[in-house]
């Protein structure tokens, strides 16, 4: 058990690292999209445009924070705060290292090591939806409300498949603790092998859950302007963007933890560095999908979620349970 101040330092560090990761994910996304589309992308601020996220931040903070006359002020302001808060909180239970012995303290490689950390992530995710719904509703604009309702329907539909996809790993590992799941992958083959179907469902449902293309209907700009954040500007809009990117990073980290052995690596025991490299690959996949796939139609999205993804995820969990019982 760490003393409380070690937890505080770890929490502070992780939040700031995640925020830097968010800033440079936006840079990476713009750069990669541009290269895939035969453009250069941001290349004015600093070498390779590396200072672009900082320039963006300065611009967003200085921009006028507009609010519609008929908006419900308190909820309108609270919504982006709520969604960023829940998004950042979820990273607390993700293990990033095996733990170290520094001077006379044992420091574990996770901020909060809860026995039910996986359920905690899903609980936070289900609260995070409220930021989007409240923001869309409080703006008192047709486009925002439509976007909020799309978000609502999509996230609720795909949350089920996401949870069921994870269930296979939970049954096989026999625990809901993420550190324990990673420890088990140190002694046996990583779970992406036996749980390959689970991984595919997890990745697809996760893309929908984070509203990434091709599942970005909540903010389909050809149909509903920008969805729930149509009426937001300045850093309030920035907070919504932040929560979306942090959701993506957290989900990628969860995927790495559950299916790709977390901080374990094939050769050198580099710990957090392996974790970071794997995270980068998954984030790259998300960006690649955005560059190559067109957006789904809304009925296609619902049909895919309920009629294909959910049955496959259920079958996977069922078969895993049968196999585990048969083997033991």
């Amino acid at each position: 058990m760490d003393p409380w101040w070690i937890d505080a330092i770890k929490g502070f560090l992780i939040i700031n690292i995640v925020l830097v990761c968010f800033a440079y994910t936006t840079w990476l996304e713009r750069k990669l999209l541009s290269r895939m589309q035969g453009r250069f992308g941001p290349n004015r601020a600093g070498p390779f445009g590396l200072l672009q996220p900082i320039a963006d931040l300065v611009k967003l903070v200085r921009k006028e924070a507009f609010m519609p006359m008929s908006a419900s002020a308190k909820l309108y302001i609270a919504a982006p705060i709520l969604s960023t808060f829940t998004a950042l909180l979820a990273f607390a239970v993700i293990p990033f290292g095996a733990g170290w012995h520094i001077w006379k303290w044992d420091v574990s490689g996770v901020v909060v090591d809860a026995p039910i950390s996986l359920v905690l992530i899903f609980a936070l995710g289900s609260l995070g939806v409220y930021g989007f719904i409240i923001g869309g509703w409080a703006s008192d604009s047709k486009y925002s409300t439509l976007g909020a309702m799309r978000t609502c329907a999509q996230l609720v539909s795909y949350e089920v498949s996401l949870a069921l996809a994870v269930l296979g790993v939970v049954i096989q590992a026999g625990t809901l603790n993420l550190s324990e799941i990673v420890h088990q992958q140190g002694t046996q083959f990583w779970f992406f092998g036996p749980q390959f179907v689970g991984l595919v469902v997890f990745f697809l449902a996760g893309t929908a859950e984070t509203s990434r293309p091709p599942f970005d209907l909540p903010e389909g700009d050809t149909e509903i302007v920008a969805g729930y954040h149509t009426e937001y500007s300045g850093m309030r809009w920035g907070l919504f963007q932040m929560s979306e990117y942090v959701h993506m990073i957290t989900l990628s980290a969860l995927g790495v933890t559950l299916f790709f052995g977390g901080w374990h690596g094939p050769w050198a025991p580099l710990g957090p560095l392996w974790f970071f490299l794997k995270l980068l690959v998954v984030v790259f996949l998300f960006i690649w999908m955005r560059a190559s796939l067109p957006r789904l139609r809304y009925d296609q999205l619902m049909r895919f979620g309920w009629k294909i993804l959910l049955p496959v995820a259920t079958l996977n969990a069922f078969i895993t349970a049968l196999v585990v019982v048969a083997v033991n």
């Binding site: 909820l75 809860a114 359920v119 939806v129 409220y130 909020a148 609502c152």
Partner: protein, 195 residues
């Protein structure tokens, strides 16, 4: 710091959290029934369910607390907000009164809860609610809850699953009925145009 002092600090913290959770629970409960805007009422209900989760946490059932947030404060209340936003929410007049039997039924339900609370207070004052038990490590853990569901409370568990299945089938039936009447309307419209 001595062990005694640590326990004392811990106890004060537990009390502080308990008072905060209970105050939030009662406050948001009042907001649910006093707000005129249904969207605000639903938000207050989320706060109410969330503070209940904190109370479960204090009773050392972490899993039940997380499930409460995940299922009730999360999934169920999203549906409430969805429907309220779908029906307009802010523009709607608040629900006032209703039919006489509605009012009578709510009065009876309120009275029943009041009696319940009074009996509980009376029993607590009489000392008949004082059971002390040592909680072991597995108490409230997911595996222990799963074991209880599939052994001691199997019948209740299965009956619940049937009730949920009926609700799901009902949803599908209602949905397909709506689609059929839409198709009939379209056919009638086409026939009308031909005439």
């Amino acid at each position: 710091m001595s062990l005694l002092a640590v326990t004392a600090v811990g106890n004060v913290l537990v009390w502080a959290v308990w008072v905060l959770a209970v105050a939030t629970c009662i406050g948001t409960g009042l907001l649910v029934v006093t707000r005129t805007n249904p969207f605000h009422s639903a938000l207050a209900l989320i706060g109410n369910l969330g503070s209940l989760a904190v109370l479960y946490l204090l009773l050392s059932s972490e899993f039940v607390a997380a499930a409460q947030v995940l299922v009730y404060a999360g999934a169920v209340m999203v549906m409430f907000l969805f429907v309220i936003a779908y029906l307009g929410g802010k523009a709607d007049a608040p629900w006032i009164g209703g039919r006489t039997w509605h009012q009578a039924a709510s009065a009876v339900a309120g009275l029943a809860i009041l009696v319940n609370v009074l009996v509980a207070i009376g029993m607590a004052a009489g000392g008949s609610l004082k059971h002390e038990a040592q909680l072991d490590q597995v108490f409230g853990s997911p595996s222990e809850i799963g074991r209880l569901f599939l052994t001691d409370h199997l019948l209740a568990f299965e009956v619940t699953s049937i009730v949920l299945l009926i609700a799901a089938v009902g949803g599908v039936v209602l949905g397909s009925h709506a689609r059929r009447s839409e198709a009939e309307d379209a056919a009638a419209l086409a026939a009308g145009e031909q005439v």
